[in-house]
């Protein structure tokens, strides 16, 4: 067993495995719209576009350690940017994407500057304020935004040569954008920016000593993150074809954050899982209780957090870990289990990424994450 692990650990093998996984995923993703009913394809499309927003939020919360409760507002900004362009200037759909992305990037940059001074809780509440403030502002700007009635715009239409139905074409376009966005997020994290972000999250003062340009990277993290949310909003407009201020209430921002935490912070798959949760679980709740779907939905959120405190993406690892620690020691010491950090080095600095161990979970002092909201 350990030889296999070791073999897989080599670079070539890992790359090969990744390529295979990607190929398989692409094949499955490509087949989906021909197999499922249109409305199920629509649901998947929505999952994909929410995943883009969550991936952006993940950059900020999961990797940057800054909490935003205002990403619904960036989502709305992207959605409205696209809708206004389609409605007033009759641009093509594709033209709206770069504008929404760039606009939200700049908006995020503008927010990133004051966000530098704010920590944890305070940043969360100021961003929440932005989310609360945006709908009435959109209503006020009626000549441009259509006011409270919102804007109805054309949905994405398949070109004749594709021979695809509307939902299939939309799905493929959104899939393409999502895949690009997720890859971009992954590469961002592997780049200097990503390393700097993680260093910042784990230990701000140490990172500063190491020469990480704190303010620049924190601001950029916010901007990238907002850009992803804006792209997701733009896709939303393409898919739904309708925007209204009350579609983007603060509930959306809270839902996004909940989706991310449920999916798994600082994980590459977390956003997809979280998006699926946000998309499907309300319907499931309704199937379970027509009288009060909210009762079931609330309970399911709590239940998932009980079972997977570090999110669904961390669940397999936790299960395996729990199983392994119950097995006899000879087989249960895989090569990867060797800690790269000795316990003597103090409390785990990067708890969001390391699954809280069940054994330590109730002994707060060791496993407890840094209290981001203090200081």
């Amino acid at each position: 067993m350990s030889t296999i692990t070791a073999a897989l650990g080599t670079d070539r093998a890992r790359r090969r495995r990744a390529a295979l996984t990607a190929l398989l995923a692409a094949a499955v993703a490509g087949c989906v719209p021909f197999y499922f009913a249109p409305f199920q394809v629509f649901q998947l499309t929505m999952v994909l576009l929410y995943a883009v927003a969550l991936a952006g939020l993940n950059l900020l919360v999961g990797f940057g350690g800054q909490i935003s409760l205002g990403h619904g507002a960036f989502f709305a900004a992207g959605a409205y940017a696209a809708a206004v362009m389609l409605d007033r200037y009759d641009t093509g759909h594709l033209a709206t994407l770069p504008v929404a992305a760039a606009g939200c990037f700049l908006l995020g940059l503008a927010f990133g500057v004051p966000a530098l001074r704010l920590r944890g809780l305070y940043l969360a509440l100021v961003t929440l304020a932005f989310a609360v403030f945006l709908p009435p502002l959109l209503k006020r700007l009626e000549p441009v935004t259509g006011g409270a009635m919102g804007l109805t715009v054309d949905k994405l239409q398949p070109p004749a040569w594709s021979g695809l139905a509307e939902d299939q074409w939309t799905y493929f376009v959104v899939l393409g954008v999502t895949a690009t966005a997720l890859l971009l997020a992954r590469n961002l994290l592997r780049s200097r920016v990503g390393r700097a972000l993680r260093a910042l999250r784990d230990n701000e003062s140490a990172a500063e000593v190491m020469g990480v340009r704190l303010s620049l990277h924190k601001t950029l993290a916010f901007a990238w993150s907002a850009m992803f949310a804006g792209v997701a909003g733009c896709l939303y407009t393409w898919v739904i074809g309708f925007v209204s201020p009350d579609s983007f209430s603060s509930v959306l921002s809270i839902t996004l954050l909940a989706g991310l935490v449920i999916g798994g912070l600082a994980s590459l798959y977390g956003p997809l899982l979280g998006a699926a949760f946000v998309m499907y679980v309300p319907s499931v709740s309704q199937d379970l209780s027509e009288a009060a779907p909210g009762v079931v939905f609330g309970l399911l959120i709590i239940a998932v957090m009980f079972v997977a405190p570090t999110g669904l993406a961390g669940l397999p690892g936790r299960v395996l870990g729990a199983v392994a620690s119950r097995l006899p020691r000879t087989t249960a010491a895989p090569a990867t289990a060797a800690p790269d950090r000795t316990p003597e080095a103090g409390p785990a600095p990067s708890t969001p990424s390391t699954p809280a161990d069940p054994a330590v979970a109730d002994t707060e002092p060791v496993g407890a994450p840094p209290r981001t909201e203090r200081e």
Binding site: V61, I67, P114, R117, L118, R119, L121, Y122, A124, L125, V126, L128, A129, F130, V132, F133, P136, L137, K139, R140, S205, S250, I254, L257, A258, V261, I262, L265, A291, A292, P293, G294, V295, F297, G298, L299, L300, I301, I302, M305, F306, P309, T310, T351, P352, A356, V360, A361, D362, T363, E364, P365, G367, A368, P369, R371, T372, E373, R374, E375
Partner: protein, 296 residues
Amino acid sequence: MSAVTDLLQQAVEGLGSGAVYASLALALVLIHRFTGIINFAQGELAMLSTYVAWQLMASGMPFWLALPVTLAVSFAGGMLVERIVIRPVRGAPELTVVIVTVGLFIFVNALAGLIWSFTVKDFPQPFPDGGLDLAGVRVDWSTLGILGVVAVVMGLLYLLFQHTSAGLVMRAVACNPASARLSGIRVGRVLMLGWALAATVGALSGVLVAPVLFLEPNMMGGVLIYAFAAATLGGFDSPVGAVVGGLFVGVAETLTGAYVHVVGEDLKVGVPFVIILAVLLVRPQGLFGRAAVERV
């Protein structure tokens, strides 16, 4: 009526709203002091407590008996919530706990709707009708009553925290739960007590504001955002800060909404937050929060 009287009248309305925000902000601050999280479900728990009071009165109990019973039920309920809902995720990342409270929010809101429907309920006003007339400015007894109760609760909390050994233990747990356990403090019990206290203060808040806001499951949803603002402005740690923050937010948004026409009633929700942002940029720990004094 003169312009000055108008202004004062609006300010009084602002104080009335501010007192409502402050009452819930007190409960938020309590939880935050103990656990370092923001409890999204605080307003909904308060709403649930208010329904308990309503149910008691609907079955014939007089208000002044229903109130202590409700507070006792809320106290026990707060302990149960900590034990059943929060304890299992202790030690998990803080955001996980916050999302659990979001789940609790959704659950309690829907549960109240299921049991009591979304129809507005009438809730008796404990304070007399009418009010004072101070040189043309009308101050309702209910506004004064809420302000008074909020002030008393704030004072009691201050005494509890600063001048009792139980309060000392609570502050120790809030400050450093790990060391508190090593000192032999039963942190679990103290946290249960913290949730119980917060739920009780929340219940009082709900009972106070229900006659003004009218009782229905979404009663506290709007208040919560403003209570967050109030608590943030006050530094999220200090009961005094929560109350001052609440009153400030209430007066600021009311006056801006009424007098600054560019802002108007629709955009006034932004006002407290601009102020908060300004305050935080100068004092990142809020008006009444303690600066971080640790030496690295």
